[in-house]
Amino acid sequence: MGDAELELSPSPPEAEPSPVQPSPPSPSHSPSPSPSPSISITSSPSLSLPSTPSSGPHHHGLRRSPSPSEGHGGSSPALDVISEGMGELTLVIDSEVANRACQEVLLKVKQQQQGVEEGSEVPDPHAATNTATTTTTTTSEQGLPNGDLGGPGTPGAVTGGGVCGVGVKAPLIREEEDPSSAAKSARRRQRHNPSKQSWLLRLFESKLFDVSMAISYLHNSKEPGVQAYIGNRLFSFPHEDVDFYLPQLLNMYVHMDEDVGDAIKPYVVHRCRQSISFSLQCAWLLGAYSSDMHISTQRHSRGTKLRKLILSDELKPAGARARRDPPTLSLFCPSAKPLHGALAAGGGPAGGLAGLGALGGEHSLSPSKRTHQRSKSDATVSVSLSSNLKRTSSNPRVESNQEETVRLTPQREFIKSLMGIGKRLATLPTKEQKTQRLISELSLLNHKLPARVWLPTAPFDHHVVRVPHSQAVVLNSKDKAPYLIYVEVLECENFETSSVPTRIPETRIRSTRSVENLPQCGMTAEQRTASFSTVPNYDNDDEAWSVDDMGELQVELPDVHTNSCDNISQFSVDSITSLESKEPVFIAAGDIRRRLSEQLAHTPTTFKRDPEDPSAVALKEPWLEKVRRIRENSPYGHLPHWRLLSVIVKCGDDLRQELLAYQVLQQLQCVWEMERVPLWIKPYKILVLSSDSGMIEPVVNAVSIHQVKKHSQLSLLDYFLQEHGCPTTEAFLSAQRSFVQSCAGYSLICYLLQVKDRHNGNILLDAEGHIIHIDFGFILSSSPKNLGFETSAFKLTSEFVDVMGGQDRDMFNYYKMLMLQGLIAARKHMDKVIAIVEIMQQGSHLPCFHGSGTIRGLKERFHMSLTEEQLQVLVEQMVEGSMRSITTKLYDGFQYFTNGIM
């Protein structure tokens, strides 16, 4: 991923016209995940001495490789993409200004930050980074004075790249853009005097600077230069790291001032070009986070516009095309090179404007309008024209491009139909009707599958091939109709480029089944046992066919012997032996009856089908069992890449708060993992589709504690004993450990996030003994009905303590110890958590941000000022308080009376 940005480096040769290197190798290709873009600026001499042995030669090879295909195979995003993205960057970022601003403003921030920084150790082996950083600093120092030459600072390099992508048209653009941008930069230059070398810049370029910090600086800094710089830096982070903060980025884009937006946009646009799923994610989130605005402002807001732009699918061509066609690239770049030289020398960043211009900046109402209104329209037109030409020029790509014109459509339609189903279900009065309708609607949906659609909650690339419609269930909800569907998918390399699987008719399943003849396939097993004598259940019944019984029967029925065997043809091997001996087979009626009741008892406790609670049965079934069953009945089941996913479709519910909770949980999980604290939590994925719809990744193999108690009629401890064995067994101990670790994790979560509404219906228990809290509808500043219940720090009932072995026992102490460790670890990384929450507060009307003290309160709960000893006391107090708290019990009682939850 990191290569993406690095690839700019080949393009900025303008600094020294080095004819020796027709395609300048990238010195910046360090394998480190966050290579500083500025490294790439290092002039070619420095790269001739490969400072990092690992990176140097290797990447040379890549870069220089005469067969570009090879190079591209390795480094995913190709030159063109990057250069183009960078072109956009230049629009907003005036490199010199940015650097200077950084130096000045961030110095202060850095000093504040250092406190935190010192805490975390810098790993030694990264000496390379240090060297790199130093080099960079020097370069930037040199760079600044002769910034006119093309800005050796990152953005300058970016410009070069931009030209590369934009191609021949660049000079034109530059001419037109030049005056305004020059004036702008002049203005800024007046404001910020170049000052001494920036420590802050060093921080930014250091290895420690991660996405979390970037996002938080982006939010906190009021300095456009800093923001612009960080916007730039986003390109250097791995995609998945940035993706995690996408809600934050987009919320800032929607609700913060123009400069932040300008800083973020190029990155977003760049990523949208690369990926369909990113595009859609952005569109959905933009829609959701714009919804809190007043309707009148919303319509013209930046977020809405960007959303429209993405959904118009105009952000498609360049990226996707470039990625797929390396040869064109290599042809294209050399010819363009002289041009960036000229361009960079002339006006630096301006050239990139055209690239973004074509994509629609936020300055005008719509991209199409702008082409007529603005002075640079010609350039824009020609740019897009040139890209069009490119598109048609190479034959093999024409098709793929046509396909791309509808690249967002299938998925949007898919989501739309799922939401439509939810809306229609809500109009039906009974659960039964809802279920029927759901099944029939899904069966219609099946007709349109397989398609280039996917479930965004899945961790791997795939195509949806079938929805086993009869397995879908309506979940319990009063006036809305959330439902759970299972989705069969085929895993693939890349859902955008891999071909969509071909449709297999439903009935095909039978042929596949008989062909495979898998022994583990239940159906075939059943078929084999169809003959009486091989039914395993009867194997132990030999005594039933004993001679005594036979004699008895013979007395009763004298004619048995003579006509015992009419249908010889159907006899199985076993019965033939009995045939030969001319002795009929006898069975005891009592055995049949006994087997019946035994089998009924042994059938895995299927809940009785309850039309009022259809989901209970579906959720009860063990996941693997369900997967096996559905796979068996699916025409696609025999394919090796077949996977089963499930998703809860919520229509009419705002999942933004759930998403926020997910992010915090994810962050804390990460922190605990990093700090090696064995706390266990299970963040489940949330997909926000709008402010009132979305999807949730269901937690599998878990039932709510309410259900556990209701169906087992046991205390939690007894249930553990029943499920896992007696207290000395390995199984029980491991389940108990899981329970304690998850309890500690969620206790902290509940405390930190002030998760309320903690009744047993909202706490799941999985097969391994973990508890999992679900439903984060009441967190931070909101609590249900404002009844003021649940004043304890978290929910810790005596039943929970019992499972831990009782107070003051080892496991209970372990629990408290885990909490302390967890809290200390969390405290150390408080900023990461705070940043996530604080940014989302921007412009939000979510109930969890109600009031003014949300963030302050959250910060206070980390108790930065306490010593570890004091923290330990605090944990003790909280545990005590929660155990004593009658409010928990009171709340459970309240829930029981109002909702029937035990």
């Binding site: 009707q433 029939s440 069966s443 008719p505 009935t507 008895e552 009929p584 009856r593 089998q599």
Partner: protein, 670 residues
């Protein structure tokens, strides 16, 4: 000739002039029957197809040609046929319309004339032997392109009518030699295309499906029929769905009409003739194409015909030749699921079951008996299909199916409001039970009973094999079966005169054996096994009597000896149960001084005495003969196709008068 004159006169009756003037077209027809019409008028053929066709006249003219004349005018008729085919390629749609209708008249007239003669004579007279292949190829190609083109819907409709007319000109479709050319020049793809497209399906679906059903039955058993082959491999879902929709719609329409009549208290049953062809199509699809099975389960909202307004589609003011049920175009709307909360979800299978429940009520008349038989055959095919079984038994797919129940003296009507939502197989079982209890009459429909019991057997075999424990009130089935045995016993003599009642009795007893020996694999509760014993013991007299009867028959010599002795052996376990529990129950009553044991008390006795009862394991209980159409059903289908042909032909010919409408449409176009 006088007959012809009369017909002309009849046609003219409405006009005021008393001396009827002959139409120009009639004069031109006359000319054809005299000499080469183009001799005097080179533009004769051009002009002919601009004239409004007088089908009746042309037909009767052809009919009335006598033997010697045939030779003389054959060339002219060949020429007419040739020009008709040529005219199909004309741009001028009026000409195409007229050519199509003229062809219709030609086929019919020539066949009327030559009823007894061989197919070759007919072909010779129409096209001439040497040209026949070429002419028919051209004709079929033209029809194909008209059907698949973007042309007028009326034109397409007319094409289908012509084909229907051609397919049904003979009573026995297999004797229609011209169809050999339709086999070679397949229009199968055109039919499929009509079915796959929503709008064309709405307008022509019925005709297309009927045509397909008939074509599939052409020399089905004697030769390789390409339509059979092609139909069996279709896997395009929209097309299959389309076919399902047409069937669904026709069956729903029938049910609606029935209901309407019933509500008007008109009582009685009306003809199933119109749906017979559709039913045949459904059978062929289910029987030949296993992909079609999925269509059966394809859910869609129930179309309540009473609610759906019948809006005539603009392209067809009314269906020109009128074989279609009136409101087929309502089908267009059902593709989208509407938002009516009162709408129950339905599927083709449910529709079919409801239809079957109506049709099977009364089997006295032959065509209804045939419909019921066909329904049961279709259900047999379904019950044998594993995929169908899997969705029939799918616990997640529950439906309420309102089956029609015959009003009977001893039972209340209209309690069906509270039907629970259950897997579909329950509805099938209900239907079977319903049939069993309502048809024990003098005119005993033996064949239907056999099929009925076999269907139940197949379903239970599936449940046993897959260990599916269906929550069904098996008791109703048991008591229905026992009553059936009782009926067979009490009507032994009358029934034996016509039927092998032992075969049926054997099947019934073996159903009980399935429950007795394999009950542990598919019964829903342990209690249900007790109830089975209770029921057997309670009705022991029936089994005792049956045993006596079969024992008696099997000891005599005669044709029933062997079948009767089979029943004797099958009764082993039932008798063991009765002999085991009866004394126990009696002694229980004696010990406790109870004259009449309650059900609970009997069940208690049953429960406590299982262990001393030994049963014999009977083999092959879960084996069944798979359905095969040939040779057993061949005669039935031959007859069925014949009656459908007659019906279709009658409907096509009746409607030729409505050509005015058609012409009106085209005269406004051109």
């Amino acid at each position: 000739m006088s007959q012809v004159e009369k017909k002309v006169g009849l046609l003219r009756r409405s006009s005021s002039s008393k001396k009827p003037l002959k139409e120009k077209v009639v004069l031109m027809y006359d000319e054809i029957f005299k000499e080469d019409p183009s001799k005097h008028n080179p533009r004769f053929w051009d002009e002919l197809f601009l004239m409004k066709v007088n089908l009746e006249y042309l037909e009767s003219k052809l009919e009335s040609v006598d033997g010697e004349e045939v030779q003389r005018i054959q060339d002219n008729i060949n020429s007419l046929f040739h020009h008709c085919v040529q005219a199909l390629g004309e741009e001028h749609q009026i000409k195409v319309v007229n050519a199509l209708q003229t062809l219709c008249a030609l086929f019919r007239g020539v066949h009327q004339k030559n009823k007894s003669s061989s197919g070759f004579d007919i072909i010779n007279m129409l096209m001439g032997f040497d040209k026949a292949e070429l002419r028919m190829k051209d004709l079929m190609e033209s029809l194909d392109s008209l059907l698949c083109g973007d042309g007028s819907e009326s034109l397409k409709s007319l094409c289908l009518k012509l084909l229907l007319c051609l397919v049904t000109v003979t009573d026995n479709i297999s004797q229609n030699t011209i169809l050999e050319y339709v086999m070679i020049n397949s229009i199968f793809e055109a039919i499929l295309q009509i079915l796959s497209d929503v709008s064309s399906r709405g307008q022509h679906g019925y005709d297309a499906v009927v045509l397909l059903a008939l074509l599939v039955n052409y020399r089905k058993y004697e030769s390789v029929n390409p339509y059979i082959v092609k139909l069996s491999i279709v896997d395009d879902e929209p097309t299959l769905d389309g076919m399902g929709m047409v069937v669904h719609h026709a069956l729903t329409e029938y049910s609606r009409q029935y209901k309407a009549k019933e509500e008007e208290n008109q009582g009685g049953f009306f003809s199933t003739l119109t749906t017979m062809a559709i039913l045949l199509a459904l059978y062929e699809a289910v029987h030949l194409n296993r992909n079609f099975i999925t269509v059966l389960a394809q859910s869609h909202p129930e179309i309540d015909m009473g609610v759906t307004s019948i809006s005539p589609s603009p392209t067809t003011p009314t269906t020109p030749l009128g074989t279609s049920p009136p409101s087929l175009d309502a089908m267009n709307n059902q593709e989208q699921l509407t938002l009516d909360p009162n709408l129950q979800t339905s599927n083709l299978l449910i529709t079919f079951l409801k239809y079957a429940s109506i049709v099977m009520q009364d089997t006295k008349e032959e065509h209804r008996l045939n419909s019921a038989r066909l329904c049961l055959i279709i259900l047999t095919c379904i019950a044998e299909d594993q995929y169908a079984d899997s969705f029939l038994h799918d616990d997640n797919m529950n439906f309420r199916v309102n089956l029609h129940k015959m009003p009977m003296r001893h039972r209340k009507k209209g309690v069906d409001k509270n039907i629970p939502c259950r897997p579909l197989v329950c509805a099938v079982l209900d239907l079977m039970v319903e049939f069993i209890v309502t048809h024990m009459m003098k005119e005993f429909p033996m064949d239907l009973y056999m099929r009925c019991v076999q269907i139940i057997h197949k379903l239970i075999c599936y449940q046993k094999k897959c260990r599916i424990r269906l929550h069904y009130t098996w008791r109703e089935l048991w008591s229905a079966l026992i009553n059936l045995l009782k009926f067979l016993l009490s009507n032994e003599t009358t029934l034996l005169a016509k039927h092998n009642i032992f075969h049926l009795a054997l099947l019934v007893v073996n159903l009980f054996n399935m429950f007795i020996t394999y009950g542990d694999t598919f019964l829903p509760t342990s209690n249900s096994y007790d109830e089975l014993y209770y029921e057997v013991v309670r009705m022991h007299q029936v089994f005792d009597n049956l045993y006596c009867m079969v024992l008696r028959v099997s000891t005599n010599t005669g044709q029933w000896k062997e079948p009767a002795s089979k029943v004797t052996h099958s009764l082993v376990n039932v008798r063991a149960i009765i002999n085991h529990f009866n004394p126990k129950i009696e002694s229980y009553a004696a010990v406790n001084h109870i004259s009449q044991l309650s059900e609970e008390q009997v069940l208690e006795v049953v429960r406590t005495n299982y262990d001393t009862l030994t049963l014999k394991l009977q083999d092959g209980l879960d084996q069944f003969e798979r359905y095969s159409e040939q040779p057993r059903e061949a005669a039935f289908f031959k007859e069925l196709v014949r009656s459908i042909s007659l019906n279709v032909r009658r409907n096509v010919s009746l409607s030729t008068m409505s050509q005015d409408l058609l012409l009106k449409e085209f005269s406004t176009i051109s």
